[in-house]
């Protein structure tokens, strides 16, 4: 079942309605499909194309530009090992080698049990806490080889299930705009005047 399921279609429509133009919802909807399926499937891209009225090629063209979208089955936990300068200065390379050894796989692949995908990553915006890694985009700071092994043990034992949702789920909560408070998005062509709170300067003024 890799098209969006009914509840996600409802969510998708809500997301689409937040934008003045439908195509803006493309990336959020691809995230939604990745949350549902763990990775981005062709069927999901076709479905998203239908929902926002573009071609599947447009969805694919945009989605494949962004690194977080994965087009093949991915581990339940995606571990991204930062290797950019600040982390490199404090042992990122050695940590990556250690991680490969612990998991018995090369960066860029998934453990045979399908639990963990390991990959090299670029700067994760936690440079003071080098070396860092992210598990499903949740940071781990100042990681030692021992920390890494403990992390893997904890993931395998399911100890982090509450803290780290499966790959594809970005935030455990989503924005919910209350209908009674929402202003609502308008297509830019349908907006003909300035906002109510702005005093309109008469023509020739200023």
């Amino acid at each position: 079942m890799s098209r969006l399921n009914d509840s996600n279609v409802a969510l998708a429509r809500e997301i689409i309605a937040r934008y003045p133009k439908q195509k803006s919802a493309l990336i959020p909807l691809v995230h939604l499909s990745q949350q549902q399926n763990g990775y981005v499937t062709e069927e999901a891209m076709r479905h998203i194309a239908e929902l926002i009225n573009v071609t599947p090629a447009e969805v694919y063209g945009t989605a494949s530009f962004y690194e977080m979208f994965r087009f093949e089955p991915t581990g339940k936990y995606l571990i991204n090992m930062c290797g950019t300068l600040s982390c490199a200065l404090l042992g990122a390379k050695q940590l990556l080698h250690h991680a490969e050894h612990t998991l018995g796989i090369k960066a860029g692949s998934t453990t045979p049990d399908g639990l963990i995908t390991l990959q090299h990553a670029e700067c994760q915006a936690a440079c003071t806490e080098a070396p860092t890694l992210q598990v499903n985009y949740r940071h781990r700071f100042r990681v030692t080889p021992a920390d890494f092994d403990q992390l893997v043990d904890d993931l395998r034992a399911g100890k982090l299930d509450n803290e780290i949702p499966p790959h594809g789920t970005l935030g455990r909560n989503r924005q919910q705009i209350p209908a009674d408070r929402a202003v609502g998005a308008q297509h830019p062509d349908d907006v003909t005047s300035g906002p109510a709170w702005i005093e309109i300067v008469p023509a020739g003024g200023e």
């Binding site: 195509k23 995230h31 490199a88 670029e122 970005l170 202003v183 830019p188 709170w197």
Partner: protein, 473 residues
């Protein structure tokens, strides 16, 4: 968990001394990100003040504050708002929370630890500049920021701060949280807009696509960095004079700087703009506390991975844009990466070259082809398979990306004078030049480290670039 519990450097830092805290004042609380804490600590008072003013008055206040954009270019925010063409509606606010510059993180902290401050800043900007919808674009890889900002937005909607008739006023605006999906280049404002339109995040050419004139959906659009907006509640609540009282005339207020690498206490510090020097930041007891293990400073990146490097000669330069550029670099996005004397300079440069080559969007040929070429040559050199000819090739490829004289710092050791920033470029945005900057800095300031790597001089046979057609003209 607040900054205290998560970040070693935060312990004691926010309670220590009487440094001004404009944007990090709540970081000391474990519940800094909640609406309750925000209310208790003066939250949404700036918005209330703003709503008592005419929008134009509020905009003027921001202009008078000379609040500089914190995304990297350092352009005054109030002036940027003024570039929107008169009478063209709708206009949008796009919040640039796609922070990904190597060495930099402050926007992530501001979103995770004080999301309401950012939201209040967005509201003040929308009110002042007549922006009728706000899109808060958060870098995809920041799951916690997504959760915290989403919760804060929900709370603020329910509390009447966002949405229809805010605080009973005619002011009405939606703030939509938007997820990025992993692409450094999207931090560039026109690429950010492309991405928000559901496109590949490839920068647009300026001119004509200056967002203030032709931005999101072709409409006037203000793109502001998270930290920039986070300053607005303070300015609205206390007035521009209180803001300009801090720092210098050209660089007022404070700014957040991440100091990472080989310092004893790496951390993200709110410093006084314009007067604090790199020496203060790296060696000061309140900040980095000096080089680790008693080692010597070798070099530092003064403004995020794309900034030309400084060495000890430049330690006394303050965080002031003009002084940094005449010294051959830039302050960029507020990130200092410190390298001590154990650092393998070519290998360090390689990580940054790799970063920018990897992050090229592929639009401009010099960046797409040149960045990768630089990376491959340097990788070969670092692996011990380079030749001196490779060093010339790096400079030549660099010239194809940044023609003319390339900025660099002065070095007394080498007898080098500074070449001021900026460089010329053949690309649309700064990603391409940024792939050349680190290797250029490294080769210029530490030539001896490359010389030992490239001992083999090979006269390579030149390869004709294209075969002439058989029987052609």
């Amino acid at each position: 968990m607040g900054a205290h519990g998560t970040y070693a450097w935060a312990a004691g830092y926010f309670d220590d001394g009487d440094r001004p805290q404009i944007v990090t004042s709540r970081f000391k609380y474990d519940d800094s990100y909640t609406l309750d804490r925000y209310h208790e600590s003066g939250g949404y008072q700036g918005l209330r003040k703003a709503l008592e003013m005419q929008p134009a008055e509020m905009a003027d206040e921001v202009k008078k504050s000379t609040l500089l954009g914190r995304g990297g270019a350092g352009f005054p925010a109030g002036v940027k708002w003024g570039f929107t063409p008169a009478g063209v509606w709708p206009r949008y606010l796009v919040v640039n929370g796609d922070e990904s510059e190597p060495g930099t993180y402050k926007d992530r902290l501001l979103m995770e630890l004080d999301p309401h401050q950012l939201i209040e800043g967005c509201l003040i900007a929308c009110y002042a500049a007549g922006l009728s919808q706000c899109f808060l674009y958060i870098r995809g890889e920041m799951a916690l920021a997504h959760e915290r900002v989403a919760k804060a937005l929900d709370d603020a909607y329910r509390a009447g701060y966002i949405g229809k008739n805010i605080l009973g006023n005619s002011f009405s605006v939606d703030i939509v949280l938007h997820w990025g999906a992993g692409a450094y280049v999207v931090g560039e404002e026109t690429a950010l807009i492309e991405s928000l339109e559901g496109e590949r995040g490839m920068p647009r050419v300026k001119p004509p696509y200056f967002p203030a004139a032709i931005g999101l959906y072709g409409q006037p659009t203000i793109v502001n960095n998270v930290e920039t907006l986070a300053n607005l509640p303070f300015i609205a609540a206390n007035g521009s004079a209180a803001y300009t009282a801090i720092g210098t005339e050209t660089s007022p207020g404070t700014r957040m700087i991440a100091v990472s690498g080989h310092v004893k206490r790496p951390g993200v510090y709110e410093i006084i703009n314009g007067t604090t020097t790199f020496r203060d930041l790296i060696y000061g007891e309140n900040f980095g506390q000096g080089i680790r293990d008693g080692n010597e400073l070798k070099a530092f990146v003064p403004g995020g991975g794309s900034a030309p490097w400084f060495v000890a000669d430049q330690l006394d330069i303050p965080f002031e844009g003009r002084q940094a550029s005449s010294a051959g670099s830039m302050l960029g996005s507020g990130a200092v990466i410190v390298m001590d004397d154990t650092t393998d300079i070519p290998a360090a440069a390689l990580t940054l070259v790799k970063f920018y080559a990897h992050e090229s969007c592929g639009k401009c040929v010099p960046c797409r082809e040149g960045g990768t070429w630089l990376y491959r040559i340097l990788e070969r050199i670092v692996a011990g398979n380079g030749t001196d000819a490779d060093l010339d090739t790096i400079r030549e490829v660099g010239q194809s990306i940044c023609p003319g004289e390339m900025p660099h710092a002065a070095s007394e050791r080498l007898g080098l004078d500074a070449v001021p920033f900026p460089y010329k470029m053949t690309t649309i945005c700064f990603v391409g030049p940024s792939a050349y900057v680190p290797v250029h800095s490294a080769m210029t300031l530490f030539p001896e480290e490359f010389a030992v790597l490239v001992t083999k001089r090979e006269v390579r046979s030149m390869i004709p670039v294209t075969a002439a057609p058989v029987g052609g003209e």
